[in-house]
Assembly symmetry: C2
Homo-oligomer: 514 residues x 2
């Protein structure tokens, strides 16, 4: 599988359909495609013919299946489905000693992929004598209602129950039944999650405090809804990640969009762009190229780890530094497009093995569950500022997103539902007086960090922020190259989890007979 086809399997926020004002002083900017709006790291295994295995000999687990109710909140006569979960009880000290249960809230993808990329949980569990459970999110991986992915993704009716509330209820029911079967009702549950999984972990701690004693929510943009944070936040952070490496690099990228758009208007311009960027097939529009580049910059920012990684794509450590090094060292007289190509190759072709690139073959098909979630509940406004972003400027336009979702998925988004259900406006205040035992961990290089919680809310709702961290870096396996600040962040997390458990065990003694 080429690096590029891997990329096309990433999930997208479909809903951004943005138009740009035309100005006289510059050539018309391209119309951004909704396919290339920011997205999370996500699932590489969602196509039916995928055979990639997510195995890592360090992580041993048993794969089990649990019969789940499709609709927890209604009594519709619907078929149940098999939810997959991975479980390891090797280090668990058992119910007699109240061994904890470390429960990772599965994201929008194959759970095995998240399991092998969440080394932190595997590494700390033995120290706590903890059981490890990685449940898969409904409608992803093997956890398909209606028997198959094809049937589950057939239409609005079959997809209807792909929502975060139903997923949380799955987890609540699974934990409850698992504990009952193991006579482990009194064992404390600690939640983990990164990105969307981190949002689920935080929300679950808020909505089901009787089920889990605490949550580590890594890179969880729980405030990236409605007008809680400015919609420009995401692209401003990506842009800053480049500017902090080099102002020239930032400016070159910022200038490139108009060059690409102008080139696309010329005779043979698309052919020229196609060959410069080595696409296998001729580009149909210059926008496709711009979107392909935007994606890369966003992913580079999310995966801007201090050591080489192979999470989304094989990348060097500090990959943005490398992109900018290449752009900045572009020989005099080289055209801006060639410089941009050299830079973005750090993302799309770091191994140097790709001969030509492909765009997504099916840009408008309903290719992923996240597309559905982004057109229903997960309406996270994103825009690009004229001044502070290196991306083409555009405003957030909900109306066109809604039209797009109606047209493509026959579903009307509910843009205010997530904040109604989980809070958001005044979140800090509510959490201060009500919540407890949540760690919001973030790295400021991560463009999603701007939509998360970056300041301590109380003694027990804590923000662990690293200046140089990227997207849920803390959850990744420890490496020999881990910088001190990362080691310290993880140590702080372990200490807080210890406090939660000690408090639980202490209180339990005191209130055992309640």
């Amino acid at each position: 599988m080429t690096s590029l086809t891997k990329l096309t399997h990433c999930l997208v926020f479909f809903f951004l359909v943005i138009s740009f004002p035309l100005t006289l002083s510059s050539p018309p900017l391209h119309l951004r495609s909704s396919r290339n709006a920011p997205r999370f790291f996500s699932d590489f295994s969602r196509t039916t013919n995928n055979t990639r295995q997510f195995k890592d000999s360090r992580y041993r687990y048993e794969t089990r299946y649990f019969e789940q109710i499709l609709d927890h909140f209604s009594f519709s006569d619907l078929p149940t489905f098999r939810q997959r979960y991975l479980i390891n009880t090797e280090h668990w000290v058992g119910p007699g000693r109240l061994g904890p249960i470390f429960f990772y809230c599965g994201n929008e993808g194959d759970i095995e992929w998240f399991a092998v990329n969440t080394g932190f949980v595997w590494e700390i569990a033995p120290r706590f004598g903890a059981m490890i459970v990685f449940p898969e999110h409904r409608y992803y991986g093997e956890s398909m209602p209606y028997g198959s992915r094809e049937e589950a993704y057939k239409n609005v009716t079959t997809l209807a129950h792909l929502t975060s509330e139903q997923a949380l209820a799955d987890y609540a029911v699974l934990i409850t039944e698992l504990k009952r079967n193991l006579s482990a009702q009194a064992c404390p549950v600690v939640l983990f999650g990164g990105s969307y999984g981190g949002m689920l972990a935080a929300w679950m701690r808020l909505k089901y405090p009787h089920i889990a004693i605490g949550a580590l929510a890594s890179s969880a943009p729980v405030l990236q809804f409605e007008d809680i944070v400015p919609p420009e936040t995401f692209y401003d952070i990506v842009s800053n990640d480049f500017r902090r490496e080099s102002v020239n690099c930032f400016n070159t990228i910022k200038e490139s969009w108009n060059v690409i758009a102008s080139e696309g208007e010329k005779n043979y311009g698309l052919s020229h762009l196609t060959s410069t960027f080595r696409f296998c097939k001729k580009l149909e529009t210059a926008d496709d190229l711009s979107n392909w580049l935007s994606s890369a910059y966003s992913y580079l920012a999310m995966g801007n780890y201090p050591y080489p990684s192979d999470f989304l794509m094989p990348m060097p450590g500090n990959p943005i530094k490398e992109v900018c090094r290449r752009i900045d060292s572009c020989p005099d007289g080289t055209g801006i497009l060639q410089c941009i190509f050299e830079g973005v190759s750090v993302y799309y072709n770091y191994t140097g093995t790709v001969n030509c690139f492909n765009l997504d073959d099916d840009p408008h098909g309903m290719t992923s569950g996240w597309d559905w979630q982004a057109c229903t509940e997960m309406i996270m406004p994103v825009a690009s500022s004229k001044n502070t972003s290196m991306f083409p400027a555009y405003d957030y336009n909900y109306t066109s997103d809604e039209e797009w979702c109606l047209e493509n998925f026959h579903v009307k988004p509910r843009p205010t539902w997530i904040t109604t259900e989980f809070g958001g406006h005044g979140f800090n205040k509510v959490l201060k007086t009500f919540g407890s035992n949540i760690i919001f961990s973030n790295g400021l290089l991560d463009p999603w960090s701007g939509g998360s919680v970056l300041e301590d809310i109380s003694d027990t709702i804590v923000a662990l922020v690293t200046e140089k961290g990227a997207h849920h870096l803390d959850l990744r396996p420890a490496t020999a190259e881990d910088p001190d600040w990362l080691v310290e962040q993880r140590t702080a997390e372990v200490e807080l989890i210890k406090v939660w458990l000690e408090e639980y065990y202490g209180k339990r003694e005191a209130t055992f007979d309640m």
Copy 2:
């Protein structure tokens, strides 16, 4: 409308189908009908041809309708429905002064009936400069999905969305939209509710702390699930209510069941029972009579108010005292059945205007939404102890309840769902570390009080218990006959609500710029 037909409109816990062991030493006890298991006070207006008006000139409100999503937790392509709500803004000081919103969580019935029976909220709102909102629970009163009650109650598919989680989401969405329309986003919401409405108020405060700052949950048996409290609790309390008035009264009732059962076995026995108890139509079984009596005793316990009331039926103050007075003063030589009849007439015929009584005409029809709720989520185990109950002894038998629900409603109950979703086991401990600002008010004469929270959990989760109170007495309008302990209970409630609001206003100033 006669007193009796009013009774037959009450909602029942359908699901109790209980069998009794036969013993040689006593005649076979009757098989209890599921129709006559304990129930809440409930809706008198659920039949389609009901024309009863619930008006009280003391309570002025505007009736409005809000377009609600039928399924908040899925994106099924379902029609919206009109939710009715009553609103009064007469005393509201408005958004500029952060006027509070007093929001009553509508129960399983016509909201106008609850509005006029919840005088407490109307009486205290002006003192707080509060707006009053009484939303109607979905599938009750006028708030019918699918255009009509007939359509909404057609089958499992149309009834599917009658659940407590959907009702809470309705309230959350309604509050959010109402505030948005009034630019009142910063105005604090205080929840109120009695009985099932009290459960909703408590659960809403736990699940939606960002929406409401506190809840007064009156007579809310949030712990009456699974094995959290003994299933004998309800009937033990009813029985104690009688025994505390008179041991003879208690014993007479306890003996009466066998007498009734024996009589039913005799030739002409049913005719004799029919005439003794003045039924309009001949009894078909002795059990029907026993259930009719059991109902009365349970309602007498719930409505055992210190002053005359007309909530369910016209009754004197301290009605159980009056029942026992009649039973105890039964002339020597009068048969036990005649004595029982004299006693129960306090409930069924206090005004003396009823010539003959009717049983429910349609004992197995799906006549109410509560029947559905009791066969789906609201699985509240009830049993009757051989020793401590004055009712015929029986064990709780979930299996037969499930069979009954499958057979009659084609729906399988989820008996562990409510505690999974809202907590229950270790409720106190969870609330102590997590919840705040809930008043659980109860009167110990109320048989539902045993399933509620009767001890303070923390400084802000408070149990206000009166020894002589009955079912959500505190929410009723003030009367000249209110005993001191009731006045004090209400004063304490007002004081706590004041504290919540002051804390909110104080915190708001401190964190206004968050």
